[in-house]
């Protein structure tokens, strides 16, 4: 390694040190102890009892609710993440135009993510009532609305609807990134006679791919860990039809006092998320466009 390279590496570790120190002090210890806890039977009060892999084997072979929750989580993530990405991009593109009162529009579209969830959940129960405003609206198009939160088939779409309502949150980063796209690119494209739609696909989207990729990864991790929305809106019901992984482990940890079992669930979830994230990173080489290759 050249002297310059060594100096660069030194600076890297110096610059990264806040995160490294924070990780070692605040996170590494708790993470390691949670691995240890997942191999024990621990009620969080009395000393943990070593049980080896028993929590994991029970989880995989003897807990139908775990598999149901895993499926629900997949379902939720598989629909809400792409939907959130597309809607976020679409809204950001709209908000990037020179509209009057765009500050107001941006704020209104971002607003749903700011409202406390207690309030949101209460409102959504009313909006999603069998004869509520949403079904009234569907009725205008001749569609019979279901009893969203009461039916096992419809409760997951209801949660996805809630996530779509907050899709405006993604516009913040997309907009900030859009503002950074050099205007010259659009001007040149316009001279070449490219239509706005063409420009969106061949300039805006490629320039945004690093941020879209960021939103994708964060969306994945967030969707797999969806918690409060489920916990407050449905409590996982009816009969676990909307139960997802984190509410499940939260119940085990803080309601049933099975810290070991809950930790085992969380590490299984970790593996699932890790798998999908690595997959996303692998495909990223093909579609994410970096000015400089990130090494």
């Amino acid at each position: 390694m050249s002297r310059l390279r060594r100096r660069e590496a030194l600076w890297f570790y110096l610059f990264a040190s806040p995160w490294i120190i924070g990780f070692v002090v605040f996170l590494l210890g708790p993470m390691i102890s949670s691995i240890y806890i997942s191999l024990t039977d621990w009620d969080s009060f009395t000393p943990p009892k070593w049980v080896g892999l028993q929590n994991y084997t029970r989880l995989l072979t003897d807990d139908p609710v775990f598999w149901k929750a895993l499926w629900n989580t997949f379902y939720y993530a598989a629909i809400s993440v792409p939907l959130g990405l597309v809607i976020g991009l679409w809204l950001a593109n709209l908000l990037n135009k020179q509209v009057r009162a765009r500050k107001l529009f941006r704020t209104l579209i971002y607003l749903p993510t700011l409202v406390p969830l207690v309030a949101t959940a209460m409102i959504f129960k009313m909006v999603l009532a069998p004869s509520g405003p949403l079904n009234d609206a569907l009725g205008l198009f001749g569609l019979p609305g279901p009893s969203w939160l009461l039916e096992a088939v419809w409760v997951k779409p209801a949660l996805i609807l809630l996530s779509v309502w907050g899709a405006g949150g993604a516009t913040v980063l997309l907009l900030a990134a859009m503002k950074g796209i050099p205007r010259e690119l659009y001007e040149a494209a316009e001279v070449d006679g490219a239509s706005p739609i063409r420009q969106f696909w061949s300039i805006t989207v490629p320039q945004l791919t690093p941020i879209i990729f960021f939103n994708l990864i964060m969306g994945l991790i967030g969707a797999f860990q969806v918690f409060s929305q489920v916990y407050i809106l449905t409590k996982g019901g009816p009969n676990n039809a909307s139960q997802t992984m984190v509410p499940l482990l939260f119940d085990q940890a803080f309601s049933f006092y099975k810290m070991g079992y809950a930790s085992a669930i969380s590490w299984m979830l970790f593996l699932v998320i890790l798998g999908f994230t690595l997959l996303a990173f692998r495909t990223a080489r093909r579609w994410v466009f970096y000015e400089t290759e990130v090494r």
């Binding site: 070692v24 002090v25 590494l28 210890g29 708790p30 993470m31 390691i32 102890s33 240890y36 806890i37 009620d43 969080s44 009060f45 009395t46 000393p47 943990p48 209460m122 409102i123 959504f124 129960k125 009313m126 009532a129 069998p130 004869s131 509520g132 009893s147 939160l149 009461l150 409590k235 019901g237 009816p238 009969n239 676990n240 119940d251 803080f254 309601s255 049933f256 006092y257």
Partner: protein, 438 residues
């Protein structure tokens, strides 16, 4: 003196925690909670201590508790209590974290999940302390005196306790010429009254019984039990099935209770309490708390004791006060609880309109029967009358898991998609794996 010692302990641990960053941190965190858990056997002056007390609830609960603590401090100036009010959703988690961190509260409010703590040896048995202090639980609290016990030891002193009562819409009853409900009504009497009071799709005789205190009351009235005396779940017995089926039939067979769908259409989180307040249901079974809202309501109402089945039985709501295992001064903690459950302090519970005081003397006092804030004559005697009917609900250590099993297993039943026998047979199987007889 004791405090000072605890502090040096803490800083020493703190330094160790700092030095052992990283890999060691994980191990330390676990050993730390082990070493901290040593029981504080120290018991000093019972009238001088600095105690932490955790309770759940909202702002009105805080007022009521604080008033009682102020009275305590006025009487025992050296007995200081710091009240920690915790929002109810986070209570269990906060207390769990406090205990796991080695610094539990000295006095804690407990209810159905009391034996989560007692079975894990986190709260102290109070029999000896109570008898030493001269508290007669049966005399002071009647049949619920030993409600919060586990394996024949008492772990919490009752503090608030009101039976579930019947709220009925007087105007609707009078319009149909039905007399006020009494404790002697049978299931048949009740059903026929409900039928008369119902107008399909518009008005319902009864608010329903989907919550455990409601349908469990019917189970015990019918001679059934959720958990038998040996600690085994018995929910697939004929008595339980019959009682649950009766509750379900009220909705789907007789149409005298709104369906889940009809409720969802009335508003968010709407249940019997709200439907009763807006006059949509004629009868509702719930706790004391509905009174304060109803005093402002436009409808004309009163309260009555719950009807009976083969026998009288009714659930009670309430909470008790427990002394944690790590309490710095258990004798002082009990002294405080003794005072807080004495008539003087308990009067505040009703004076502030918070709840029904567990102390029987107060339940019979004028302060309770005619509270100053009550705007209309309400038959408050009902609580005293009902207290004799209260059955002992099975507050097993796996309470939360059991409730979850019921929630999940009865979801289809309450939607009218399954009969009681099928649902309960499945739940019984699940409960057998959850509840391990002690």
């Amino acid at each position: 003196m004791l405090e000072g010692h605890a502090m040096t302990m803490d800083t020493r641990l703190g330094r160790r925690g700092f030095l052992g960053m990283g890999l060691a941190a994980g191990v330390i965190t676990l050993t730390a909670c082990g070493s901290d858990n040593k029981s504080a056997t120290a018991s000093g002056d019972a009238e001088a201590a600095d105690l932490v007390m955790t309770v759940w609830g909202g702002e009105s609960d805080k007022t009521a508790y604080q008033k009682r603590i102020d009275l305590l401090t006025a009487k025992y100036p050296k007995l200081k209590i710091t009240l920690q009010l915790i929002p109810n959703d986070g209570y269990a988690q906060k207390v769990q974290t406090m205990i796991a961190g080695g610094k539990g509260p000295d006095i804690m409010e407990v209810a159905e999940s009391v034996n989560v703590y007692s079975s894990k040896n986190q709260i102290q048995p109070l029999d000896d302390l109570a008898s030493k202090a001269g508290i007669d639980l049966e005399k002071r609290f009647g049949s619920i005196g030993k409600l919060y016990s586990y394996q024949d030891k008492v772990y919490a002193i009752p503090d608030r306790s009101g039976a579930m009562i019947v709220y009925y819409n007087k105007a609707l009853f009078e319009a149909k010429g039905i007399k006020a409900p009494t404790a002697d009504w049978t299931w048949d009497d009740t059903l026929s009254a409900f039928k008369e009071l119902s107008i399909p799709g518009k008005q319902w005789g009864y608010g329903g019984s989907g919550w455990w205190p409601q349908w469990w009351s019917f189970v015990y009235q019918n001679g059934g039990k959720i958990i038998d005396d040996s600690g085994k779940p018995t929910v697939a017995t004929d008595e339980v099935i019959e009682a649950l089926q009766w509750a379900g039939d009220l909705i789907y067979k007789h149409g005298v209770v709104p369906t889940a769908k009809q409720y969802a259409d009335m508003g968010a989180d709407i249940g019997g309490d709200q439907a009763f307040a807006n006059g949509k249901v004629a009868v509702n079974t719930t706790g004391f708390w509905a009174i304060s809202g109803l005093t402002k309501s436009k409808i004309d109402w009163d309260i009555a004791p719950l009807w009976k089945g083969k026998q009288q039985a009714v659930s009670a709501f309430g909470s008790g006060l427990a002394v944690s295992r790590t309490a710095k001064n258990p004798a002082a903690a009990l002294k405080a609880i003794d005072f807080l459950t004495s008539p003087d302090a308990q009067q505040q519970i009703i004076a502030t309109g918070q709840d029904v005081p567990a102390n029987l003397d107060v339940q019979k006092s004028d302060a309770f029967l005619k509270p100053s804030w009550m705007t209309k004559p309400v038959n408050m005697n009902v609580f005293g009358e009902s207290s004799g009917f209260v059955y002992r609900a099975p507050f097993i250590p796996q309470w939360n898991e059991m409730q979850k099993a019921f929630d999940d297993g009865l979801a289809d039943f309450w939607l009218g998609k399954q009969d009681a026998r099928t649902a309960l047979t499945a739940i019984q199987k699940q409960l057998e794996s959850i509840v391990k007889p002690a």
